[in-house]
Symmetry: C2
Subunit: 335 residues, 2 copies
């Protein structure tokens, strides 16, 4: 599955900027793939692209309408369907990361069929996977892991890809969640895969490659999250990373959505090495990506310095200070 | 989902006894639920039940035809369909643990609809699950875990249920795999659940209960199996067991289906406690269930004695010597 580019980003009637964060993520990392944004009356989000209607986007070369907004409940509301059908009739494919399938709406399914257009439901894997084999593959892999969900694993992976590429390394972001798949134009939402095939899906996503190639794999969940640790472990075993980066949000006190306390960075390093060793005995931590957005700059630097000193690892905030020190360490460790 | 009892067990044209091991498992543990076996010409399996045709089984009170045999490839062959359709026409439901859905065969789907009968595809969860909450629930839970797949976790759990019930404990087997679901008449094949919901499915399967009640939960996979460890971890977190029993096959040299070496019993105890603590800080190992079928009786007893001494835990072979010592320990630990 490969989503055709460039994109027209659909913002619908997003009630605020946060509702359109999928679109914002695509613009942050793949601005060149976006010809414009399509907003309905009442839309309060703006991702800084030219406002285009479907006809204008087609004229500008768009190939896919990407649903870049979530509605309350994650459901596609009826009043978005006219524009989606119009896009299909005008020759665009449509891609969505919402829970419900685009094809579950009869008007959408019928328009796609009539006009021969593709519907990409990136939350639902269309591939059939084998079970994981656990056998070491050539090529190098880096995985971002987290003390919790939603601590910046996708952002860190994309920042690492950008910095590694800028340094001349052969690096490619590998998406494992629906927003990541829209940003990368392909990938697999591993949390939507049937449980038996989690590690197999990760193996499929990061196939054998040139020995100098790096797959930079977006992590999911946390080994310490009671809802999702199974996904995290299957992804770790399938990705068989040579290197990992721990992502952390230092002001969070409980795991997202549950009352459990956050593990320490040290616990996450230890658990990731212990479990990851099963498919890559050489696995090692190469850095810490700490989200300091809740801290002022002095506090942020002090937090990063303290974490770096405690763990003997480069620590940075990818958004605020970039991932340069982590890539330095990666290059030094894997010459 | 509850499969109506009693059962007529369909053995098809099983080429050998192993092909009918699902049926054999049902007979081993739920003989009272079985009115007979239905065999096609050429069938080489015999699970020791009266041979009945569909009409005879209906007369004997059967409510469900259970597909107790696997075909090569796990696919339902065309030449079984006549008997399945006849069963539906005669008022039986049909239950299957095969990969393909019964309803994917038009003649079967149509007959079920026409006669208002249920089709139970136990490998495909029909429930919708929530994500796991990780919050401690009342009631007690025991989980069987393994050094590998296919080392006797289901058998051990069923043997524990039987022994605990015989001692007057309130104990119930909770099935997590397709054969287990057919034996229990309900449950969920957790490896067939969408990855995001593994621990949620386990929570659903073992709900809050009377403080003295024991759910005896069938384990899946192994924390050390590179294909399936994610399922194992999600099940462990969702089941939040108070007690676990490690199942082991001492002559196996590599993990089933992959070249990885087997972990030691000690490694499995350590990893299970470390991971299980997340949702139940009091988790502890109460025994070892060791499959000694490849050993003679002297070797078997020596193996069990050595394991018991090394780990300070009761060790038994559930098939050969029963699980009495493990239940002794369980009762002593949880008075």
């Amino acid at each position: 599955m490969e989503i055709a580019k460039p994109y027209l980003l659909f913002l619908g009637d997003a009630p605020d900027a946060l509702a359109a964060k999928t679109a914002a993520g695509v613009v942050d990392w793949r601005r060149d793939w976006c010809v414009g944004q399509l907003r309905l009356p009442g839309c309060k989000a703006d991702v800084g692209l030219p406002d285009l209607d479907v006809a204008g986007a087609v004229a500008a070369g768009a190939k896919t309408l990407v649903i870049g907004v979530v509605n309350a409940g994650g459901v596609l509301p009826e009043h978005w369907i006219d524009q989606i059908v119009l896009a299909l009739e005008s020759g665009l494919d449509v891609a969505s990361g919402l829970h419900g399938r685009l094809s579950s709406f009869p008007r959408i399914a019928e328009a796609a069929k009539r006009h021969g257009r593709a519907l990409h439901d990136v939350r639902h894997a269309s591939e059939r996977f084998a079970t994981g084999k656990g056998v070491k593959r050539p090529g190098r892999r880096l995985l971002t892991v987290g003390t919790d969900c939603s601590v910046g694993k996708k952002y860190a992976a994309l920042a690492l890809e950008a910095e590694m590429t800028a340094r001349g390394l052969d690096a490619e972001f590998r998406a494992t969640g629906q927003t990541g798949v829209l940003i990368a134009g392909r990938g697999v939402a591993v949390d939507a895969v049937v449980a038996d095939f989690i590690s197999g899906a990760a193996e499929w996503l990061t196939p054998a490659a040139d020995p100098a190639h790096w797959d930079v794999v977006e992590g999911q969940g946390s080994l310490f999250h009671p809802s999702f640790a199974g996904v995290t472990l299957g992804l770790l075993h399938g990705a068989q990373p040579d290197a990992f980066v721990v992502c952390h949000e230092p002001t969070r006190t409980t795991m997202r959505g549950v009352p459990h306390p956050l593990p320490s960075i040290g616990q996450v390093i230890e658990a990731t090495v212990a479990a990851g060793r099963l498919t890559n005995p050489e696995i090692r931590c190469v850095g810490l990506a700490i989200n300091t957005s809740a801290l002022d700059e002095t506090e942020a630097r002090a937090t990063l310095d303290a974490a770096a000193a405690v763990h003997g690892l480069p620590a940075s905030d990818p958004v605020r200070f970039g991932v340069g020190p982590i890539v330095d360490r990666l290059i030094a460790t894997f010459p």
